[in-house]
């Protein structure tokens, strides 16, 4: 049995008086595809943001690939991580955002090559070659020289996925990546992610409201409510036979709202 690639141990996250995560613990195995579902405000996006170091935690520990994320050993003790440590840890993790967050002043190709060139010292030619391979994979090779403003939402998101992949992270975080898309553009992004899940052994954490996709994509589904994991299990058991009342209510509402399961 390999050891978990992500170990979340009793973390707390508060915004002022509001507790978003309340003593949350969970493990993720290498290569596992995880879907995080639940009502908005349940803390699922916060987990991704914490793993990407976009938020800090108020308590607890996170271990990524055998190393502490927010702590580092110093003189035999664990102290708060400094920017250098975070920089090292971020190499293991990539993230795709709900609103794409492409750099509007750079063309598609430059969006992808920027980080590998700056953070890994990859030569321009090599970075562009790799970028073209990734663009080919997401079906955007013909748009390499387009500016983000010229692309549709689905195209932007596919570029954003390629951009995150260019740094070859071990863990990819997908934060509601289809929520900002027009309905007819959702499928092209989901197709890219299906291929990614099938063709790579990356660990993937997905926050989504697309229950049908979560069902097909995930090895394990976690249902969140009020900062805690209410129920987890294989997609079939969560979606077909949810045991917890809150999970049942949530799924009923989602289905009533027109989402497929």
């Amino acid at each position: 049995m390999p050891s978990p690639i992500i170990r979340i141990d009793n973390i707390t996250k508060t915004y002022g008086p509001l507790t978003v995560l309340d003593g949350l613990s969970m493990d993720v195995m290498p290569g596992e595809k995880l879907a995080l579902i639940g009502p908005s405000g349940s803390g699922k996006t916060t987990i991704l943001r914490i793993l990407m170091t976009l938020e800090t935690i108020n308590g607890g520990h996170i271990e990524i690939d055998g190393e502490q994320l927010y702590h580092m050993p110093k003189a035999g003790r664990l102290v708060a991580a400094d920017e250098k440590h975070l920089h090292k840890m971020r190499k293991k993790i990539g993230m795709v955002f709900q609103h794409f967050n492409l750099f509007p002043h750079k063309c598609v190709l430059d969006n992808i090559t920027l980080a590998p060139m700056l953070t890994k010292g990859v030569a321009k030619a090599a970075a562009e070659k790799r970028a073209m391979e990734l663009l080919d994979m997401v079906g955007m090779a013909d748009k390499a020289r387009s500016m983000p403003a010229q692309l549709s939402g689905g195209q932007k998101q596919r570029v954003a996925i390629a951009r995150a992949l260019a740094l070859s992270p071990k863990i990819m975080l997908f934060d509601e990546v289809t929520s900002a898309l027009d309905p007819e553009l959702v499928e092209e992004v989901l197709n890219v992610m299906r291929r990614l899940a099938a063709e790579t052994d990356m660990t993937m954490l997905l926050v989504t409201h697309e229950m049908g996709f979560a069902h097909d994509f995930a090895d394990r589904v976690l249902f969140f409510d009020k900062g805690r994991i209410v129920e987890e299990g294989k997609p079939e058991s969560i979606f077909k036979n949810p045991r917890q009342e809150r999970t049942q209510t949530f799924l009923r509402k989602i289905i009533a709202a027109g989402h497929r399961v």
């Binding site: 170091t53 750099f103 509007p104």
Partner: protein
């Protein structure tokens, strides 16, 4: 009948001084604007405080008083400046304080989402600023920078008070010697306007260049 050509020549010499002051003053103002504007966004409290004190002081006191301090009071502290140096220093520090707020505002206007993308791509603080934030903030600064540069141009007239022979100073000389107010002051009116128009045109050109691509068209 007055022979105006010599007098006009005098005013044109003054125009060169005005241009020199404007160019050098703007250069210093630009440096100060970025130093103080980014300083106000620093994660170090001491840097933020220093930048804030500079901005508030130079915005809160008159350029006229600042110029006198630089030229007449600094020598007591052992620092004697030529009138041109004093003029450039006072104008640059004064306008730089206004520019600093422009820099700060534009940098902050680049959204949180862009910064988060930079973190997710593991760019360092410097790389974020250099490659992502500033290229997007710069086009936002340019229109106001244009205003500031024109304000600086018009502000150069105060240096005549420390006997620098700028355009306004020369116009007063001509007026005193010829007794005509209309001709020298009509001349410098036109010259100031032409210079301001040149600044506006230059800024528009820069703006077009800086925003190229952002509206979706790559040249």
């Amino acid at each position: 009948m007055i022979d105006w050509s010599g007098y006009i020549g005098l005013i044109l010499q003054g125009a060169l001084v005005t241009i020199e002051l404007t160019v050098l003053g703007s250069a210093l103002a630009l440096i100060m604007a970025f130093a103080a504007g980014l300083g106000r966004l620093s994660r170090f409290a001491a840097v933020r405080t220093l930048a804030t004190v500079y901005i508030e002081f130079f915005r809160g006191t008159s350029i006229f008083v600042q110029l006198f301090w630089v030229y007449f009071v600094l020598p007591f502290a052992g620092l004697t400046l030529t009138p041109l140096q004093a003029g450039v220093l006072a104008l640059g520090l004064n306008v730089g304080a206004y520019g600093a707020e422009v820099v700060r505002g534009a940098v902050r206007a680049v959204g949180r989402e862009q910064r988060e993308a930079c973190v997710a791509l593991n760019l360092s603080r410097y790389q974020r600023m250099r490659h992502v934030i500033l290229p997007q903030a710069l086009p936002l600064m340019l229109p106001t920078f244009g205003n500031n540069a024109i304000e600086l141009l018009k502000g150069t007239a105060v240096v005549s008070l420390i006997s620098l022979t700028d355009m306004t100073f020369q116009a007063q000389v001509v007026r005193a010697q010829t007794g005509s107010t209309l001709i020298p002051f009509a001349t410098i009116l036109v010259l100031y306007f032409v210079m301001a128009s040149a600044i506006s045109a230059g800024m528009r050109w820069l703006e077009r260049r800086a925003t190229r691509g952002l509206d979706g068209v790559r040249a």
